[in-house]
Symmetry: C2
Subunit: 385 residues, 2 copies
Amino acid sequence: MLDFPAPSPTDHRVRDPDRPDPDRRAADTDSPPPARQARRGHGSVTLRDVALAAGVTAITVSRYLREPQVVAGETAERIRLALAETGYVPNKQAGGLASGVSNIVAALLPNLANSIFAETAQGLSDTLQAAGCELLITSTGYSLEREEEQVRALLGWRPGGIIVTGRRHSPATRALLEGARRAGTPVIEVWDYQAGPTRGAARSFTQVGFSHEVVGRAMADHLLQAGHRRLAYVDSGIAEDYRAHERGLAFAARAQEAGAGVTHLAAPKGDPFDAGRHMLQAMLDAPARQRVTAAAFANDHLACGALLEAGAQSVAVPKRLALLGFGDFSIARQLRPSLSSVALPRYEIGVTAAQALLRQRAGDDSPGHQALPWQLMARQSTGGG
Amino acid sequence: MLDFPAPSPTDHRVRDPDRPDPDRRAADTDSPPPARQARRGHGSVTLRDVALAAGVTAITVSRYLREPQVVAGETAERIRLALAETGYVPNKQAGGLASGVSNIVAALLPNLANSIFAETAQGLSDTLQAAGCELLITSTGYSLEREEEQVRALLGWRPGGIIVTGRRHSPATRALLEGARRAGTPVIEVWDYQAGPTRGAARSFTQVGFSHEVVGRAMADHLLQAGHRRLAYVDSGIAEDYRAHERGLAFAARAQEAGAGVTHLAAPKGDPFDAGRHMLQAMLDAPARQRVTAAAFANDHLACGALLEAGAQSVAVPKRLALLGFGDFSIARQLRPSLSSVALPRYEIGVTAAQALLRQRAGDDSPGHQALPWQLMARQSTGGG
DNA sequence: TTGAAAGCGCTAACAG
DNA sequence: CTGTTAGCGCTTTCAA
């Protein structure tokens, strides 16, 4: 970080000739003035510079910036001018250090490129920016170790709030987050909505999302209601995506409750469309007694791959095989047959989490958990629409 | 921002009983001790607390944290213990203020949800995180006014580098960025690679991207080489996306050079697949003498919409109408006919920009411009693959 | 309505 | 190898 000079058109820097001279200060004491090299500023325009140009002191400029109505009209006018003249940009590090308040919000998401989390990031960004907050964002790659490391680093900025993904964290992460929350920093968990990390435990932090267990069951229900008795759940290739696994487990549990057969498959890594194509092939190639009539997928890309491959191989969808996605990406309703899927509040999770955070920052200490609505979109690939 | 207590399991806060008492300090002078209320800390564990627990002074702990090899083995051991005991988390605001160096990198992108910029964000994040930097990200919504506002706000954090999108900025933004750069802060422009904002002008900041003019011409060339003489360019619905417009202008210029006819169309706002479908319809409905035989699109979503609508209406692609996208989203090669498109270094732009920034931060003051490779993927929709 | 003094938590500079 | 001193640029507290 280097400081920068005034960006004003005329670019005449206002330097303070009165800046206290450390040697002179030292002379106030009884000891002889040591010939120390004074530390100089980092070169940027400071409040003092503006104050000097306006003929007031720094604190008055500071006040004008924070509560303009307290400053007298004529003084305010001079400060306004000085501000423009010097091109002052307030140093937020100094401000945060002095006041103990920062407008930085830290967000940890598994991935920024994935359209699911990208839209959440957009929702966070839109809402926080409107409230004058800045977004410090990291991607954990679904790793709890990286999450821990990043939480630790981000806390160094003393953020005004923290947003993490999901309810599962390492013990150390949990301790750090709990410490932060005890000290009054809002902590929000997004993309999940369920009692604590272990079944039955209470919620630790504010949750904004939905229950993957409930969605998983609903996905099974949808296929069961269409009369299917031999189901498959195709999990994503990401081993650490516990939410996809939870949906799969709930899906299987519901199917078994209903006396239907369930196969659990795991998609290979790599391009998810290709993985979906591959999984369709695998289901077609399965021995007759393992053959399924309906498959649910961990995401729409996998499901679309399967749908396209089915088209290429003239496998009748949903007649021979019904397909159900998750995420309702915009491609889902464009294909023929159209893909049934679960529409998610991707963007809304970001907006709602940011709002909850801002509310808590403003002093509201209600838990603020929010179960957000999702919707199973029944389309042609499962015999609907 | 509120500070947080030690997150150590035992959570025994180490508070400094020796913390200098301001009243006692005042007593050193000749004036009578004023009964001022001392300002208290913000409640977090500080370097002093750790130092006290380790039986050293703050500066030694600070040194241990920054250059451990300078500290004696036995002292280091005690500090290590004290660090763990207190659960110290360094205050980066204080550190940045004191040292004038910050590991924050600010990035301004038009949009975080758009898969193009989302992947760039991921590239930035991956590379900067590996280098110990933090990413402060904002979305401008393609607005130069918002960009200006955000640059101003972000500079308040005295970032170690700034990444902006494109080479067009408001004059005030430009002045701010130039001030920052003069002071040694790297400024990188991504997603463009062209001489200055006005034709012929020199580049102002380091550019990492590609020339949209060259790509636009290449898109026209591809269609011309396939024998098309009546072309269309379908621009995006985003009025402020000057890069899409530049591609369109270059596309038209190249077509006209070759004596071919060109129509410029603008897609409506809203779902880009639907917009693409709508534009296909518009082209089919055009009067015979305006009928085109090939269309290039501002992005793959528009092109896919058109491709799917063509399929639905049994319009032969590429026989009756060739279609060419931009972006090479993964769906492009999945559809039948597969969509020709321009593959872009979406992720690489982020990685390369971050590397350039880190290099400049480390003192390399070469311009560091980087033209990144793109590739026209000739597939079935234009008679290839 | 404005100012003086002190301090936020840390690091640079120098001394030992 | 460790400590002392001063100061980064701002805000809080109190006084006028």
